[in-house]
Amino acid sequence: MPKTVLADVVTRSARTIALSTPFALAGLMSAALPVGAQSVLKVVPHADLRNVDPIWTTAYITRNHAYLVFDTLFALDENLEVQPQMAAGHEVSEDGLTYTITLRDGLTFHDGSDVTAEDVVASITRWGARDGMGQKLMRVTESLEAADEKTVVLTLSEPYGLVLQSLGKISSNVPFIMPKRLADTDPNAQIDEIIGSGPFRFVADEWQPGNQVVYEKFEEYVPRDEPASYAAGGKVANVDRVEWRYIPDAATASQALLAGEVDYYEQPAVDLLPMIQSDPTINVETVDPLGTQGVIRFNFKYPPFDDKRARQAALWAVEQADYMYSIMGDPQYFEEFCGAYFMCGGPYETDIGSEPLRGKDIEKATALLEESGYDGREILILDPTDIPVAHGQALVTAQALREIGMNVRLVAMDWATMTSRRAVREAPEDGGWNIFPTWWLAADQLNPITNISVAASGDDAWFGWPENEKIEDLRNAFAQETDPDRQMEIVEELQAELYDFVPYIPTGQYYQPTAFRDNVKGVLEAPVPFFWNISVE
């Protein structure tokens, strides 16, 4: 009798082993695919790709991923002008209310189906439900329809100056075109398959969250004839595979680049550059000429920063140079001072109203804080310690605010936790916050519409939820205005109001260098790291 029991146990455990083996083997095999003689670009991206849906999230890493896989109707070129990309061209009716857009030939999705006007309509609609600029466009849209296989007709209810700027938006959320079946997904849920019509194909089997993402050249992609320029022009894939290897430890990542284990390091820390540059076979270039803006954001719902005098006090208490030395170190990579909310070097640069940011004035700051009625309550600054740019800003802000008598507590967390914590609308003591640090690319901050951190529409606004009618009126006026001179006047008036209202502290403008080995050729200068046009020798 015991023998049968035993035999049963043995067969059973043998069965478990047999069942688990294929599973284990499959895991082993997926890591063991041969690469052969293909040309491979090995990239260390700035973050781990967690979400693959570029409409659902604004994360830059997802946007960069999406540019490989998806294509866009229009695209921004290096003169900051919008050019057709998937579109062959477009016509605007005389009253400015009807846009007729034709698709160019040869557009194919990675699943083999053709790109049709239906796909475009569905994609733009989903983006319009999610993106801030898209929502503004949808508000003036009467209808968006597919007239035939290749023609899309957009009809507006009132004139709008930013139709092409919206559809050719270069940064998050970018109106990428996906197949209708995916674009019909609820905008608040993520798409469950990555099928685009871009120059590279997403290899789902080889995606290992936290480790690697793999793209393969899509042979059927037909690039435009024009040379590549920002997101516009011909997107020619010159490598067979692009492999993203996420290496969270900056020291290890730079060692990997030095050892030739990877070719392209998207965002090396500036402090590591001297070491990286000591190797003559590595190029360090500022790929994004427009730069990045550091941002210290307040929570407008709770004291003390619900009072503008407290925010102004903070503005007087800080100095841009402190931030920039902390996060970038080498003055070669940042502006000594930039007082423009809409970026220095951009079309809407002005330094109107920026005196409070120019230097510290502790006396004035203390006085303002006192006027605001600050009662010594604890101020929570979210401190994402895994992102040096954010961590440095949090530390500098904490020290400055303590200097003017604020009772500051830094709440350490990682970036991902911060992105969910900042969405909490409860009071700081109930899991909310008072201040968080972040940064925005110039490409996002260039004008009052794309710069969503100046939006002041209350509960609909970006985290912090400021409310200011004058700012919103000026932003709307800007959107409707088509005359550049008049637009500039609006921006000047707006910026004066911004320095009084202080929706956030622009902590400076800096330039993020990229490092790549000299076997990597054809890296494009652009605000987004694009992987077409690049070849590996």
């Binding site: 035993l6 895991g27 608040n188």
Partner: protein, 313 residues
Amino acid sequence: MYIYILRRLLATIPIMALVAVFVFMLLHLSPGDPAVIIAGDFATEDQVDRIREQLGLNDPLYVQFGGWMINLLQGDMGNSIYSGMPVTKLIGQRVEPTLMLTLCTMVIAISLAIPLGVIAAWKVGTWIDRVVMTLAVFGFSVPVFVIGYLLILGGSRTLGWFPVQGYTSIFDSIPGFLSHITLPALTLGAVYMALIARMTRATMLEVLNEDYVRTAYAKGLATRKVLVKHALKNAMVPISTTIGLGVALLIGGVVVTESVFAIPGLGRLTVDAVLRTDYPVIQGVILVFSFTYVLLNLLIDLTYVFFDPRIRY
């Protein structure tokens, strides 16, 4: 013996069940709302509520636990909150590097530490003993990542012998695998080696005082033979217990070592999941690690028969 194995196997079931309960409670009674994380950057309260409803987070705890347990028994650990991938798939992708790293570390550590411990016990009180024991205490005292960075500095930067980071599967290239695994295995092995060497020395000292060892010497057997055949074989029971229990230290070290060397294993998966409060992944990884740990120690218990014929099950 088989009955004993069966009994021991059965005894692990309530322990694993308790671990499961424990892990579940731990995560569900902690602050932080997975629904908010899943909903993303611009979700409204309504959307968050809907996701919470979909995930069943509004259900009473015991209902959630029941559902989770039933799925678990069917081999379904749920999906990652971040990437949406099944937890079993994520774990499957990461098993090989961690398994190989741990195995290599164990092989290196055991094959170095036991001889060192034996020699220290044999030469007890001499400078050899002191050096070995001081090194062993140092192995305990230096944090794993400091050892890792020093090895990268020496082995990769200065000498250029080993790659800095990453992992190559043993099925792709054996030389590639060996060069990638050496530094991490040495890094991870330091503490483990220290542990085993100390334990070996201590038990050997005890055993060397036993009558049968003295008898063996008296019979005129060669020192080496006495040390290995008589003393070490008898000392192996407590030593292998230490080897088994020490795996807990290894697992802790794996988490740090994989971060230093950018090895895509379970350790990195754990850290990433923990930092992002990716509940299903944390649950899965802790369960897998604990289960392996318990089974391994059971296996080691069973090897005692081999070392000590007096033990019968």
